[in-house]
């Protein structure tokens, strides 16, 4: 049976184009066929999770039933009551499958959990935010069938971008006007072609042609070497072009379906500081952490006056937020250290910005300092990506 990893080969794009055709024609005629959208979603899910990956397919089905029932029950409960304990339990229950999947390799020597499947963390983000928005009372009309569509929206199922329930619903319920839709088609096509350049040319040059050679040389050098520096930059470029390319495919495909999935990257290497970086790199993940973890923790700490000063509150929460992000990537020392380093960098960055503000006039600010700031940010980020790649771990293990 045919089986694909999404956006991995030309044939996938061929099938995608054919599958999208009825949707495009429908929307151009002012109609949305939700039944067809469901059908095509199921079809692509079978292509992704069927055949040799059938265990993953079963895991996905079980997961979906579990999460939809859980969120449905919580929203039903929330209409009548609003107990904090019940809310916290619902969130914990929603993340338990993901926690098991992330912990299993750390406990069982790298063995993958049988309840895991490609994209489980992205579905968990969607489930958790839906629970939180119900708790806040902003999401009142919950529909389990729609929620299921939102979860399995096939263009973004495997690696995001992470959309929001209410935003997705606005697009899903509406048929875009013809002029607007033509623009979306144009943008979608542009994204997909840019994705081809990113993923199949640039990521290929960096990841497949250059990286293995440099890694080999760096391993042979045992310790610090110029090759290791090369690995750092080349891996960073590969990571960006591969993931940004994938994201462009996902966003472009969504546009064809009349859904404006949010962008994931905005020239991240142009960032002037680390906060700027997190507003440009893997944006839907970073904003998810900002809105559902950072802001909520800050709110909690401030309301209960846990820390004396707002600065301390912000700093502690930065570290917590980014450490959790590190754990989310995987339970290994290098992912967690990656998170902690970024948390610490956000603390230092805030301190520096405050210092600069209070010493205005004494610290020069011009084109040169801006370029210098971008340079430092870029190098710091590349260093943390080297850690993230796990290559340092491999070097240590070889010794």
């Amino acid at each position: 049976m045919l089986s694909f990893t999404p956006y991995e080969n030309p044939m996938y794009f061929g099938i995608l184009g054919l599958g999208l055709l009825p949707i495009v024609i429908g929307i151009l005629c002012g109609k949305r066929f939700h039944w067809y959208e469901t059908l095509i979603s199921v079809f692509f899910l079978i292509l992704t999770f069927g055949g040799p990956k059938l265990t993953q397919g079963f895991a996905l089905i079980a997961y979906l039933i579990y999460e939809v029932l859980l969120v449905w029950c919580y929203t039903k409960y929330r209409k009548k009551n609003n107990n904090t304990g019940v809310f916290v339990s619902a969130v914990i229950l929603a993340i338990i499958p993901l926690v098991i999947v992330k912990l299993t390799p750390a406990i069982q020597n790298g063995k993958q959990s049988i309840i895991g499947f490609l994209g489980i963390s992205y579905l968990t983000f969607k489930a958790v935010q839906t629970i939180m928005e119900s708790r806040d009372g902003v999401l009142k009309a919950f529909n389990p069938w729609f929620f299921l569509q939102f979860l399995v929206f096939f263009p973004t199922i495997s690696s995001g971008p992470i959309d929001r329930y209410r935003r997705f619903k606005r697009d899903y319920d509406r048929v875009p006007k013809q002029g607007k839709y033509l623009q979306l088609l144009q943008k979608g096509l542009h994204n997909i072609f840019k994705g081809f350049i990113y993923k199949y040319m640039l990521a290929y040059v960096f990841g497949t042609m250059l990286l293995p050679k440099l890694e080999h040389q760096a391993l042979m050098a045992h310790g610090l070497s110029w090759s290791l520096v090369g690995v750092m930059y080349v891996y960073s470029m590969y990571l960006f072009f591969d993931f940004a390319g994938y994201s462009l495919f996902a966003v472009g495909t969504s546009y064809f379906m009349g859904i404006e999935t949010p962008m994931n990257f905005n020239s991240p290497f142009k960032s002037r500081n680390i906060k700027d970086f997190w507003n440009r790199w893997h944006m839907t993940l970073s904003f998810w952490f900002r809105d559902y973890i950072y802001m909520r923790l800050v709110f909690f700490f401030m309301k209960h006056k846990v820390f004396k000063s707002p600065k301390t509150t912000a700093n502690v929460t930065y570290i917590l937020n980014m450490t959790i992000m590190g754990f989310w990537h995987g339970v290994t020392w290098y992912y967690v250290t990656y998170g902690i380093l970024h948390g610490a960098a956000l603390v230092v960055n805030d301190w520096w910005l405050r210092y600069k503000k209070s010493h205005r006039g004494q610290i020069p600010h011009n084109k040169f300092t801006e370029v210098f700031a971008t340079f430092i940010t870029f190098n710091f980020v590349c260093f943390t990506f080297l850690l993230f790649s796990g290559f340092l771990n491999k070097m240590i293990m070889m010794k």
Binding site: G137, V138, F299
Partner: protein, 78 residues
């Protein structure tokens, strides 16, 4: 004191700038507000005006200028 004045006072305490002449400036773009500032703003509005603004209600693009913040606050006081 009217709502507008209260909101501007809260914003002045938070950002250290008097914003009464820059009612349409984007506070996130010019670096005066960030997530932390936002939460402080929500808590301050809660204690001074008694309005409950849950974090989910806070859509950045709808709260990014003094004018928008004033309008949203007035809306919630109705």
């Amino acid at each position: 004191m009217d709502t507008k004045e209260t909101v501007l006072n809260v914003l002045q305490d938070l950002t250290g700038s008097d914003l009464s002449d820059d009612l349409d400036d984007n506070l996130f773009e010019n670096g005066l507000l960030d997530s932390m500032g936002t939460v402080q703003l929500l808590l301050q509005l809660q204690s001074e005006l008694g309005i409950e603004v849950p974090v989910s209600e806070f859509e950045r693009s709808e709260w990014d200028t003094p004018n928008k913040i004033i309008a949203n606050t007035e809306e919630m006081l109705k």
